[in-house]
């Protein structure tokens, strides 16, 4: 059997380096990437809760860092990743129920996910800055 597959014309999985990006593949990869990034945010959430509860001076340090430019930038990207993963996750749940598999629908819901997650991120930050600032 060795080597015999080289002569067959079976469909092969796309090779990432020569694969033209499409909305479908970009969102699929983005779902994993945002999930990985959000995992780091979950670690921060636990640290933040623990620091708040244990009266550690770490809480003021952590909050000061989160208020810095780097901290705010990270929080902004985390918010975007969160809303994207949330919206695209709901899209995945509909697919699991075998709803929305038409190619037209897949692209439509894909763009809805993109614009909804951006819109919710901007709304959240407008609300947060208005409450705090």
């Amino acid at each position: 059997m060795k080597g015999s597959h080289e002569n067959t014309s079976r469909p092969r999985s796309p090779h990432v380096q020569v694969y033209r990006p499409q909305l479908t593949s970009v969102l699929s990869f983005g779902h994993r990437l945002s999930g990985l990034f959000l995992s780091l945010g979950a670690v921060l959430l636990v640290g933040w809760l623990l620091a708040a509860v244990t009266e550690a001076p770490a809480f003021s340090h952590l909050n000061a860092w989160l208020g810095s430019f780097l901290g705010l930038a990270l929080l902004f990207v985390w918010t975007l990743a969160l809303f994207f993963h949330l919206c695209n996750g709901i899209r995945h749940l509909f697919w699991d129920a075998v709803i929305g598999f038409e190619l037209k629908t897949v692209y439509l819901t894909g763009w809805i996910v993109v614009f909804t997650s951006i819109g919710l991120t901007l709304m959240t930050w407008a609300l947060a800055l208005w409450r705090i600032g």
Partner: protein, 128 residues
């Protein structure tokens, strides 16, 4: 699999049926996802409402069962969801058995440790 032949010997497979338990991780990924939709929206809205008040406001908020209980549920569902998601990524991209085994073990132990730490913090907030 040690063989180059990917085909299943149908004589061996016939009549055995499915393994029945194989979809467990897939299903829990979805169950935790559904639970996380309201919990994440609630926690984000609450954090925005409370975070401007400093540490006292955060602790006072977390001391209420109405805040601590959903936060505990969030932590459990979140780290369960993270463990399942990271395991899928590890299983897809790490091809060496030893490396993959180590990565999955680190993911499982790490998520359990972080989830328990978060829940303990919430219990401390409740009894404080």
């Amino acid at each position: 699999m040690g063989s180059d032949d990917n085909r299943v010997a149908i004589s061996r497979a016939r009549g055995l049926g499915s393994a029945k338990t194989g979809a467990g991780q897939w299903r829990w990924q979805r169950v935790t996802a559904v639970a996380l939709v309201p919990l994440v929206v609630w926690s984000l809205a609450s954090l925005i409402a409370v975070v401007g008040g400093g540490r006292e406001a955060v602790v006072e908020w977390l001391a209420m069962p109405g805040a601590a209980i959903p936060m505990i549920l969030l932590l459990i569902a979140l780290f369960w969801h993270i463990a399942l998601g990271l395991m899928v990524v590890a299983e897809d991209y790490l091809h060496r058995d030893g490396v993959r085994f180590a990565a999955v073990a680190v993911i499982q132990l790490g998520c359990m440790a972080l989830g328990v730490t978060g829940v303990v913090a919430m219990v401390l907030a409740l009894i404080a």
